[in-house]
């Protein structure tokens, strides 16, 4: 397992209100970014972030600390995002390319858009079906293990591994097409 998954709740205050402050300081950005990655909308991301931290606050005492706090909070956020966006959007639909639900529209600032168009990897990731984008984001950006992704998305770990493998292949195809083109 990766270091991110090591239990570390004992390093946090027991009091939920004090813990909430630490969580917001330590993981405010990662929760907000995750919510934004799923929704593509800053306001929606803020709503989801609020709900994620409140859910963590409510459940802080009952959280046993089996995983790292970061993983636990990320899982809460991912669940909220999937609920909000509809879990089906993140289902794999490999057999009907024309019918793939490409999902959300991401609004970015002009400055970011210019950089995005010049990016080596990200622009290709964002062209993939949402199921693959999600797998790559959770694994590479959030550095969750396949087991943690399986828990966060309520999927068998084998399914996560397969999806990640296909996502990498699809990404490689995209990037090769770009180079050839």
């Amino acid at each position: 397992m990766k270091p991110a998954g090591l239990p570390d709740k004992h390093n946090y205050p027991q009091d939920p209100a004090q813990a909430l402050e630490r969580l917001m300081d330590s993981f405010g950005a990662i929760v907000m970014r995750t919510a934004y990655f799923y929704t593509g909308d800053r306001h929606l991301a803020e709503d989801i972030s609020q709900e994620a931290f409140l859910r963590a606050y409510r459940n802080w005492t009952s959280f046993r600390g089996d995983s790292s706090v970061r993983t636990w909070l990320t899982t809460i956020t991912v669940n909220l995002c999937r609920d909000k966006m509809g879990v089906r959007m993140f289902s794999e639909q490999p057999t009907a390319p024309d019918g793939i639900d490409w999902g959300r529209t991401i609004s970015v600032e002009d400055e970011a858009l210019t950089r995005l168009e010049k990016s080596e990897v990200l622009q290709h990731v964002l062209r993939l079906p949402l199921a693959y984008q999600e797998a790559l984001y959770l694994y590479y950006y959030l550095e969750l293990s396949t087991r943690e992704i399986a828990e966060a998305t309520s999927s068998p770990e084998g399914t996560v591994r397969n999806r990640l493998h296909r996502a990498r292949e699809a990404l490689a195809r995209q990037m090769n097409e770009e180079e050839i083109g």
Binding site: M32, E111, L122, Y141
Partner: protein, 228 residues
């Protein structure tokens, strides 16, 4: 991870941070909103434990009545005593508390005078709050035809909120996290957190509290300014 994986991860992270996630942090405004909602969750939770206890005790009392065959089920519940505590120690209170659960009425009040009429003349109301805070609403909770059990005053200054509560029920809070203090000679407990302070004290059998975006010193000043 393989080297390819590592390179992919580095590129993904750097590019995402510079583009999609540019300035994508949890703002102070959102943090304040989370704190306010968390505070409301805490406030809403406080009466839950005693009520749960009371509901259990009522169920137990009802079971005993049925088992012993006493035909009391057709009688109305015993009236509530004027003062109720968070954890009633005498079985005589359980029936009254149970009927209270089913008949608690919330109402909005228009003025401090209305609050005094609803709660009773003994109600203390703070005269000095931190500058900028203004009364934005008063809510009362209680049984029909009886003095209000709780009166909640909400004061607002921009995004910040202070809640002042007078209640006939003792508040349930983790005293080990609080610091003992004195409010006008009465025993009080204060808990100072970043951007959120909680102060509880009891006077003449009434539980008072001030919770919100103020310092412990300001909370003490507001508490000591409370007057009939």
């Amino acid at each position: 991870m393989t080297n390819v994986d590592n390179r992919l991860r580095e590129s993904f992270r750097q590019e995402a941070d510079r583009t999609l996630f540019l300035r994508m942090d949890l703002s102070d405004e959102v943090k304040r909103s989370i704190r306010r909602q968390a505070s409301a969750v805490t406030a809403a939770r406080r009466p839950v434990l005693p009520r749960t206890w009371i509901a259990g005790a009522v169920a137990l009392a009802a079971a005993i009545m049925i088992i012993t065959g006493i035909p009391m089920l057709q009688h109305p519940a015993v009236p509530a005593p004027p003062e109720q505590t968070a954890v009633p120690s005498a079985p005589a209170n359980t029936g009254a508390a149970g009927s209270e659960l089913s008949s608690l009425i919330m109402s909005t009040l228009g003025s401090v005078e209305d609050a005094r009429s609803a709660f009773g003349d003994g109600l203390l109301v703070p005269a000095a709050l931190p500058s900028g805070f203004e009364l934005s609403g008063i809510t009362a909770a209680g049984e029909q035809g009886k003095p209000a059990r709780d009166v909640i005053f909400t004061y607002v200054s921009g995004q910040d909120t202070i809640t002042f509560v007078a209640s006939r029920m003792a508040a349930a809070f983790p005293q080990d996290l609080f610091t003992a203090t004195k409010v006008g000679g009465a025993e009080g407990f204060v808990f100072e957190q970043p951007e959120l302070v909680e102060l509880y004290w009891m006077r003449d059998g009434i539980q008072y509290s001030i919770v919100g975006s103020l310092s412990a010193e300001e909370a003490m000043q507001a508490a000591e300014s409370a007057q009939p």
